[in-house]
Symmetry: C2
Subunit: 256 residues, 2 copies
Amino acid sequence: VQALRRLCRDAAARRADGVVVVEGRVLAAEVVERAAQSGSTVRVQAVYADPERSEAAAVARGAEALGASWYPVASDVLDKVADAVTSQGVVLVVDRPRWELASVRADGLVLLADEVSDPGNLGTLLRTAMAVGAAAVVTLGGSDPFSPKCVRAARGAQLVVPTLEVASEDEALDVARSGGRPLVVAAAGASTSMWDADLPGAVAVVVGNEAAGVRPALRAVADLEVDVPMPGGTESLNAAVTGSLLAYEHLRRHSL
Amino acid sequence: VQALRRLCRDAAARRADGVVVVEGRVLAAEVVERAAQSGSTVRVQAVYADPERSEAAAVARGAEALGASWYPVASDVLDKVADAVTSQGVVLVVDRPRWELASVRADGLVLLADEVSDPGNLGTLLRTAMAVGAAAVVTLGGSDPFSPKCVRAARGAQLVVPTLEVASEDEALDVARSGGRPLVVAAAGASTSMWDADLPGAVAVVVGNEAAGVRPALRAVADLEVDVPMPGGTESLNAAVTGSLLAYEHLRRHSL
């Protein structure tokens, strides 16, 4: 349990161990189900679950059947260890996926999150990216996409959608522009609205920091800046909403 | 300051005093600016601000110029009182708007939030509602739309967009169906996609609870259920994202 507490709290420990922590019964059940699917790259190493709670125990048995070790722990102990307010009696330790440029398919949408700093916003973006079947999400600075909070908000999408953390603008552009993708930047007030913008099937869309927007260095190299119309006079939308609207505008064009 | 602490923490106290608390310098500056606009219904009663911080003091002077009382308080004291992690040196106390059915114009979009329980999600929905120029947001149970957290996530949209808290399904339907609006419910797996759905100019869209979705009683009386396509195989989207996608689909149809 001490080891689990460290994994729940310490990003460096998670990285060193190559793991991701998945908290909460409902989400854990989804992740175990995904791991059980043939061809899945999701692998559960260990499950910490309360044997006295039947739903939690059911998730643990499912994980055990896939080869995970089950450590029985009481719910109130798990609640104290977990990052979430309540663990719902289950915490999984899952292999951290090794996403790299080769994981990104040549077509489809890449979402580049430029310093998106709120884990809930980044997780929500990842959740949408999975929903639309995006090719990848790239994070340049900002929140840790593999933190327990971000995993919860994303419903574990970072285990399925290639999610690449990059350290520099050059690296970000390498992934975003892979497959010849043009770089489209969300910029409030741009003269082209998202409805009129050229959004080819293979495209990279950049969403910026909650306060500062997209950094000037990325705006400078963008192929296109697009505006999300706000006739109500607001100055901006939530960063995850902006990214989701652009992801779905792309999907609408290419699925209809 | 004791009085302010109570207002920051206690929903009943805010309701009894008829006030809303706005925390944070950037947001407070936006709200003061909105209050200064001619015809604005936003009224700032009081500002608690650190006179030693020039940006905070500038907001306070702006509020004073509009008739608000300025209580000078050090930032570290404000940080302890506020609901937010940091107050950025400014907290406003603003008149709570008295939204009622008569505040809702006959045309346009009404968003009905059915037990949306996360204040960040509800606030994000409100922020989007303001961006698209929605006629109203109705909350049936769920999070308090006037809590400090919800005000922050909404960037104060509940001061501008009619935001009606209702206690029953009948009341919710009274507002949603005002102006003859059909009731459209977001329901994953519905046979009509949001892109194919009939979304007239005057329409009510229902978004459900994060875990349970829209309650059966509202689904039963819906004129239409719509699906947000998720080709990536996710089961659901974030509630605020679902509502924002539907609000923007409505805007796209009626602004192009």
